[in-house]
């Protein structure tokens, strides 16, 4: 077996012609070509025109380039005009639709206001009591001098203890109130299982709809929507039967609530749930 590569290269090498004469001639011709420099005419400061044999081709190419540039610019302008027209049309259609929808709903409130009310959502309502007490504790040092941390923490601890005591006392009071009101408001409650709380001076009556119910620890709460102003708020429901009865109410109801007005009651409400301002008293179907 012969080596293909070696044999092939050897054979080609034996056939290589002498090219030096051609190369030398080519090299000697180079300076002559270089001496024939193109004539440069400076027509203006920015453009340099070179007079060569293919001047006609240069002009043609320039003309072609100009046409290309102009056509591309025109095309871009046309695209821009079309795009702007489409955007304007779309925005006008959208605004018409929005206006129609608003008119159909007959909304008197602004959407922003409604959103603000809606943002009173359950995430705030479900804030843990521990978190609230921590917030209270955190607020206290902010008011106190920065150097006296220990006294501030002591005050916070005392405050928490006071709140807890008040809560226990209020719980007992609520039980007493429930016992007192037992039977008095039975006529109002169509569900029958509702509590019989006595209407007090701080009680308010509103039309509302039950949105949801939830239990935190042993406390029962109901989220209501005020039918008049669509405000969402939570109430504390001491009685389990009332809680179940309200949970089943799907329609608007006329509900009597006790607003925590005194400082003690507000403290109790805070200890229970920071968003709760009312305690359930009674309800009846309108």
């Amino acid at each position: 077996m012969k080596n293909l590569e070696t044999e092939y290269k050897k054979e080609i090498a034996s056939e290589v012609p002498d090219l030096w004469a051609r190369i030398e001639a080519g090299i000697n011709n180079l300076p002559m070509q270089n001496n024939v420099a193109p004539e440069v005419t400076n027509i203006n400061s920015n453009v340099v025109y070179i007079n060569t044999n293919n001047n006609v081709n240069v002009k043609k190419n320039r003309k072609r380039r100009n046409i290309t540039v102009i056509s591309s610019v025109l095309g871009a302008v046309a695209c821009l005009v079309v795009a702007v027209t489409v955007v304007i049309n779309i925005s006008s259609v959208k605004s018409e639709k929005t206006m129609n929808a608003a008119a159909a709903r007959g909304e008197t409130k602004s959407e922003a206001a409604y959103d603000a009310e809606a943002s009173y959502d359950s995430s705030d309502m479900f804030m843990a009591d521990e978190a609230y007490s921590t917030n209270d504790a955190a607020e206290a040092p902010a008011e106190a001098p920065a150097s006296d941390y220990e006294s501030v923490y002591e005050e916070a601890a005392e405050c928490e203890e006071a709140v807890a005591e008040e809560y226990i006392a209020e719980e007992a009071a609520t039980e007493d109130r429930a016992e007192e009101s037992n039977g008095a408001a039975a006529g109002n409650n169509e569900a029958g299982a509702a509590s019989n709380n006595v209407k007090k001076e701080t009680d308010i009556v509103i039309n509302a709809k039950v949105i949801s119910t939830y239990v935190k620890g042993e406390d029962r709460f109901i989220t209501l929507e005020n039918s008049d102003n669509h405000e969402l708020f939570d109430i504390f429901v001491p009685d389990a039967d009332d809680f179940e009865a309200l949970d089943k109410c799907a329609d608007n109801i006329e509900i009597t609530l006790h607003e925590y007005s005194s400082d003690e009651e507000k403290t109790f409400a805070k200890a229970m749930h920071k968003q709760v301002k009312y305690e359930y008293v009674s309800y009846r179907m309108p």
Binding site: M1, N3, L4, E11, V16, L19, R22
Partner: protein, 184 residues
């Protein structure tokens, strides 16, 4: 020629001393010629391109950088020039390829008695062995062996899929092996 010798030659060329070019010519004419011939195929074209190569080296000697392997530098320039030439002539080459496609038979038909690869036909010259190849196979073998191109470079130069190039090369090598020539 060593790197130092080549650098000296290049300096001579830059100083318009033809002896530098002559030294490079003597040392590498054969090498450059076979590279160019492997790509362009025809001897007349190879002679033109090789001449142009040395003229270009005379003009562009100042672009050479020391210490990067002068042989590879020369081979790269030669290959690029040959491929450029091939591109200029592509239309003609493609036409000739398409014309030959109908009659793509080897010039010399040498068939082994039992038509097996193992059977070696002895006493055949390299030219006769190469004549057993089809035109495309010959082209690929020339580019691979003479021009020392990779399959990828060959596929780009010939505008063929690399699979086709490798297949053509393998087929050619099989045929040449039957004729007593083996790839190194």
């Amino acid at each position: 020629m060593t790197e130092e010798q080549f650098s000296v030659c290049i300096k001579q060329i830059i100083n318009h001393d033809q002896s530098g070019l002559r030294a490079i010519y003597d040392a590498y004419l054969s090498y450059i010629y076979q590279i160019v011939l492997g790509i362009v195929g025809r001897r007349e074209d190879a002679e033109d391109v090789t001449s142009d190569f040395f003229i270009k080296l005379w003009q562009k000697a100042d672009t050479f950088r020391d210490g990067h392997g002068h042989k590879g530098y020369l081979a790269t320039i030669a290959r690029n020039m040959a491929i450029d030439y091939l591109r200029k002539m592509r239309r003609e080459v493609l036409d000739s390829f398409s014309e030959e496609a109908d009659d793509d038979t080897p010039k010399t038909e040498i068939v082994a008695p039992d038509n097996t690869e193992e059977t070696v036909i002895s006493d055949i010259s390299l030219n006769e062995a190469l004549n057993t190849l089809k035109e495309k196979e010959r082209k690929v073998v020339d580019m691979k062996i003479l021009s020392e191109m990779t399959f990828n470079e060959i596929s780009e130069a010939l505008q063929m899929p690399m699979g086709t190039v490798t297949w053509l090369y393998r087929e050619a090598i099989k045929k040449l092996r039957r004729c007593g020539y083996e790839e190194s």
